[in-house]
Symmetry: D2
Subunit: 345 residues, 4 copies
Amino acid sequence: MAVSVRIGVIGAGVMGATHIRILAREVHGAVVAAVADVDEARATAVAGEAGGARVHAEPADLVRDPEVDAVIVASSDATHEAFVLACLEAGKPVLCEKPLAATADSCVRVLDAEAALGRRLVQVGFMRRFDPGYTAMKAAVVDGSIGAPLLLHCVHRNASVPPAYTSEMLVTSSAVHEIDVARWLLDDEIVRASVYAGRSTTTGGGRLRDPQMVVLETAGGVLVDVEVFATAAYGYDIRCELVGETGTAALSPPRPVEIRRAGHEGAAVPIGFSERFAEAYRRELQAWVDGVPGERTDGPSAWDGYAASAVAEACLASLADGGPRDVELAPRPSLYERETVVPAG
Amino acid sequence: MAVSVRIGVIGAGVMGATHIRILAREVHGAVVAAVADVDEARATAVAGEAGGARVHAEPADLVRDPEVDAVIVASSDATHEAFVLACLEAGKPVLCEKPLAATADSCVRVLDAEAALGRRLVQVGFMRRFDPGYTAMKAAVVDGSIGAPLLLHCVHRNASVPPAYTSEMLVTSSAVHEIDVARWLLDDEIVRASVYAGRSTTTGGGRLRDPQMVVLETAGGVLVDVEVFATAAYGYDIRCELVGETGTAALSPPRPVEIRRAGHEGAAVPIGFSERFAEAYRRELQAWVDGVPGERTDGPSAWDGYAASAVAEACLASLADGGPRDVELAPRPSLYERETVVPAG
Amino acid sequence: MAVSVRIGVIGAGVMGATHIRILAREVHGAVVAAVADVDEARATAVAGEAGGARVHAEPADLVRDPEVDAVIVASSDATHEAFVLACLEAGKPVLCEKPLAATADSCVRVLDAEAALGRRLVQVGFMRRFDPGYTAMKAAVVDGSIGAPLLLHCVHRNASVPPAYTSEMLVTSSAVHEIDVARWLLDDEIVRASVYAGRSTTTGGGRLRDPQMVVLETAGGVLVDVEVFATAAYGYDIRCELVGETGTAALSPPRPVEIRRAGHEGAAVPIGFSERFAEAYRRELQAWVDGVPGERTDGPSAWDGYAASAVAEACLASLADGGPRDVELAPRPSLYERETVVPAG
Amino acid sequence: MAVSVRIGVIGAGVMGATHIRILAREVHGAVVAAVADVDEARATAVAGEAGGARVHAEPADLVRDPEVDAVIVASSDATHEAFVLACLEAGKPVLCEKPLAATADSCVRVLDAEAALGRRLVQVGFMRRFDPGYTAMKAAVVDGSIGAPLLLHCVHRNASVPPAYTSEMLVTSSAVHEIDVARWLLDDEIVRASVYAGRSTTTGGGRLRDPQMVVLETAGGVLVDVEVFATAAYGYDIRCELVGETGTAALSPPRPVEIRRAGHEGAAVPIGFSERFAEAYRRELQAWVDGVPGERTDGPSAWDGYAASAVAEACLASLADGGPRDVELAPRPSLYERETVVPAG
């Protein structure tokens, strides 16, 4: 009867542990079979929580392990390219946290390797595509109920960030989610980017160029603006409104209970992404696991990972000197041809 | 490594098929091992969708099947008692859709059987206790943020009901959920019930006494009012506000996207319970499956099923003659002693 | 050109001073010409603020003052009847704060006097009929967009009440507004009342039977429930939802700004009625002043004042002994015949 | 006793008629004394509605009329400068609809004339400063509850515009309101402007560069983005969110009633500005009339009118060629020195 998909996870930090916990508790048909981490004690601890997964000292061994059917890469950013390439070599489906690789150029090496293989095994961890709110927004575009898209307004606020977080990471670590969301919602490539950095907030010690405002333009002429605010203090808050020719569709974040007390009415704003996007992560993992046996990968592809990195690099160039930058994309390999989505009426 | 819990499902109608679909797609560690239904073709069809579960012509055979670890009873109401008793006899955990049995008296027979067994194997399908909104309301009571409860306002609206639905079912099939929610949120028993039936809606052909308004009083003096409206036309809408001494907590139903178009802004209201409570069903089943190996049943107990039926019977008596009715509960067996919850602050 | 209407105000307490301030600052075509109060110093102070109105030691003198075109009665409840009768005798339009008179029987004396006069000069201060929210609810009933009314849910919460406030005043001073709103929204008379008083809140010292739940039934079979909670602590909060055969219409209280800070998002709840219903008071006074020259009184009539008092008395009887009470209304004089409102569609 | 302020209105089109109607029905202490319009029949009709105001064929005669205490200029844009200068010459307070004059340079002539006079008689019709929502946002800035401002997000959507409306008018007629709001909320001057025009909507025939996105930068480093969408089809929708260092404050537009029907819940969006900003217009006019006798003008000054025009001109230059433009402001005459507002905490 039902045979579970055996998952190996590289990286047992916050992100890897989150995936392992979800796989081991809420995903049908998944078993966490192996864990690898540069910190072997951490790997062992997390493997224990997942019901006794094997621990590999070497990620390469995990990838080759015959009792591992598919791999999640959640290690440090610089290591992603090598581990994804190893998975391609081993012919195993891999879900790689963003970024796909350290630079747009290194993403191209992954594209080349996958194209050479001739089949898609890579999914990039842009989990928002699985969030019920974004999914409903996408449906509103596709069903034609708000007309053809014209503008997209995005807000990405973190309550706070770790000390190692830099001004560039507002783009590469935070706004990159909006870059993917924009490409996916609009079914369009981004061709130009401008970043504005005004007065920075003083609450975080004034260390960061924070907030920033990103303006993106798509090939189809849609304008996208993104507020990225890494130390917004009050909570983790993600907003998105798509403006079409006849209406708009906007995220309405999950607020399961309304409280009235002490002269106020309203709801709690979550503090972190793992609470806000818990359901998105669960659905991402369930869909990915479901696709492993048949090598079906409907999620964000290596191409999506590459394009997001290319746009992010244009943003960084704009942030550095203040002017707009064109995004130069490599030709899209035929492996990543989109199926044409015909919007309704 | 991970061994799946093998579930047998009795009843392959709407409710049973919903459970089977969730178990087979979204519940970690569950396998649908067997299905039984009076309509064997229907059982076979549903079993096929679940990946090849065995089909039993006789529910009793399913209960006794050594490859079934736990049972879900989702057959017609009149059959619940017998199947639950069979599960108890077989020593297998059982999740029984409401009602636990056809009458409060027959519920007592289940209580007696379980008490004789000396351990709790029965969970009743009051899935709202697993809904994120109700869970957050419960947390607001327990953490003391709204003060001690004084009033509970409930609204239960169905868009429409099948032809077989009767005026009594507004209580026994619909308001019974609010009866359980009130007992659970307030951690209190209901001692008196009054039902008001005013002018009935004409949209459903005038066949039903619909809507009805139920007023409940708890042992602790909390007042509960419930609007039950079976043919509310515009959608399936469940509302609940708990009024405490210093504040209130209210359900804020999931509305993942806000649409503005054609002179209006707002959100879609779901048409049915399976959409509104999809997440509650998933969490209910995951928690129940998780508990099967250790026979842990934190969900609504047989006592909760009995108490809800007893209150519903008082409501029906009040509906019949218009006056208030006292609820007479049998003594609570020690097996069902509550753990004391100490509310904060 | 424009001649101002000269208003005399009896009572310079909170309510009278509120009316005077609005008349003197925001109502077109009104002049506060005279003020009377048992506390002459208070009258003088308030008259000064209004730009130098005359002060009368005797309310009767104010009513007879030839330079007073119309009168507002905002003195203590026990005095209303006498002052309204004096206005009728003087043939001057009068806006009387609720209650119209101390008892339903004394209201009848006002009805008789006005009927003898043969024209309507009395308006009762049920200002909610002028609130933009209630007005929009009324429009939704009349235009047929939610179908014929079936249920009305009301919530009336005060943050706190003065020491002199009694358990009976939850009905006569607070719920009486909902009684009028129900009669007006439903265009129907209330025929039966039941009051439930469960556990009382401990925050106010336990002095009051607070909260109470009132259930009203109309001649047309509509059920109305009213939560009245005099010491709700968190704010002044008025809610109302009308349930029709095909939809519902609910108050959405004014919340001009949404604030997100410190882990929460939401809005301030006003503390008092004068903030919540500021616009209703302004519109009430503007409409009343506009009607003075032509003796047009579209607002709540003496009959509405009487009916509200009769229903409140039935509520008090129910509160005293717990059972339902029928409302006995005197025949409606032809002077108060309603114009027939034909609901659409 | 109370002496009414006698208002003369130049321009009896939509805007002038709106002012006249409000003055004649809802403003305390105001009388519409005279009306002038190039279309004398229109002037006569509107004057009649206002209770018999005098009609002047020549606006100059209206300004000089000894029975006119103060003037409203609501004629065509090109005429504003001359009429305002005439009012200054006559020493009469004037409320001028935006724009103050046809160009920033011509605004300077008004500034010079008023400075020469040595006292402020001019108010510009940026009525949003009187809207309860914007007023509450301003309060949230001043009281320090959201921290020092960093970003301001604005949305300005019209359902449709008249045939004479041009692509430039998205800036000069629509976004100019946001330009004023930004300057006022932030108490800061705008120093740079960029306008993005992507794909235009097809619903209006493709005639306009519509929508546009405006990015403004203030002297203090705050970034402001403004969506202007002249043919948004679904309704008139104005949004604004101010992001501070510790929180945000956003407009929550008036929605007095929530309707649930036909599978949806939500509220009506108004179709036009006069409905959305009815209360702002009323408050603007009441405050202006109150200030006439003492020549107190707390509203937007001639300087505000000039600065808005200067920023709008920079926007138009950016729209023409796509690059950012610096805003060059003339020195601020001492007559327009701001009082220092010290933000709290």
